[in-house]
Amino acid sequence: MKGTLVLAWVVARKDLQVELRTRERLAAMGAFVVLTALLFNYAVDRTVVHPGSIAAGLIWMTLILAGLLGLGRTFELEKEDGAFQGLLAAPLPREALYLGKVLSNAVLLAIVTALTVLVFAFFYQVVLPRNPLPLIGVLLLGVTGFSALGTLFSGITAGTRMGETLLPVLLFPLLVPLVMFGASATASLLGGFPASEIFGTLRILGAFTLIALAAGVTLFRFIVEE
């Protein structure tokens, strides 16, 4: 078990190092987030509703769409030169490969999430709570669950002809609990409610993340088998 986690970290570090050098996915996702936040300004009639007052929902939708952009490319890196075959041939349990990919995706998503929240605070005068820890907790939990499910499905879509266009069809129906409870907890926290209000929500988000991780760890080996 410990060995698996260490190996997962090795995989994640490799991915993050590549990302650090090219910054392709981060740049694309970051630009996507800022531009989406900008478009919301024109999509919403500001005389009727201020984007700031529905910020939690907009933040989550932006996040999901930006995440989709990045998650779809999880296995893109390994497509060249048969790198994926090399990775599979390495003395590496499939669980470690999956967890490593989840971790690297989660780190990328966390960075994008921080950017999203800051962009909304900047554009729409969303007041961030004085104690940011509960908000960070909710968002991190959401990001981990999203990454766990997204990485598994990204492994599937990478093996199909349709590629990443298939990802939302598979992923979105299952993201309902995440978006619903994530957005509602975020809304309470941005509305200045105390953290004790969202414990129930946190539990469901945690359950979602655990189920997604357990399913991914168990099932990932079947989708990368030759």
């Binding site: 002809r161 298939l166 299952l174 189920i211």
Partner: protein, 240 residues
Amino acid sequence: MSLGFVKWGALVLGLAGLALTVLFHWQVFFWVPTEASMGIVQRIFYIHLPAAWVAFFAFGIVAICSAVYLWLGIEKLDHAAQAAAEGGMIFTTIVLTSGPLWAKLAWGTWWTWEPRLTLTLLLWFIYLGYFMVRNSTDVPEKGKKFAAVVGIVGALNIPLIHLSVLWFRSLHPQPVVARTDGPQLHPDMLTTVLTALAAWTLVFLSLYLLRYGTARLEAAADRAVAATRSPAPVREGVAP
């Protein structure tokens, strides 16, 4: 299951299902009393609820067969899961058409964010993903495994999705059949809905067996044709 069993099973279940279907249509249109507050449109209920039951029952078959298929790699189970998914999608579509037709007259709107209706819509999309994944791989074996994973993950998430959509307040009539303090339906209505439930289940199982048998036959045909084309294999009885 041998193919002979499949054939006779489908026949017997199909005939029984057909007989019950005729019976429940007679009950629905001539016998059961009209519901007082909703009127005639309430009769949609007698296909809506059984179809929903079959849709989720079929998804249970998909999940279990998929899981065991991945675990043991028995091809039959993949065919069983695929056949159930096909039927499940048909019955989910029935739920999604009869629901709005009822809602429009009972509550004045085609669509409500009613938990069970929303859950059924999401189930429909999970089935859609199941088939899209299955049909978009170059190697069929891969598509089968992908589809199985989609089926299992979908089934694992359904309780959580259900919990989530319940969270949004419900317009739907509260569960009337399965209640601890005894059913609140008029006894004739209960009889009718139970007949309909049995009829739909039998019809589904019959067609399901047929679909499964066809899939088995197709796989066997693929193998047989491949064997007759290639010159090498030597069979008992036709050995040189």
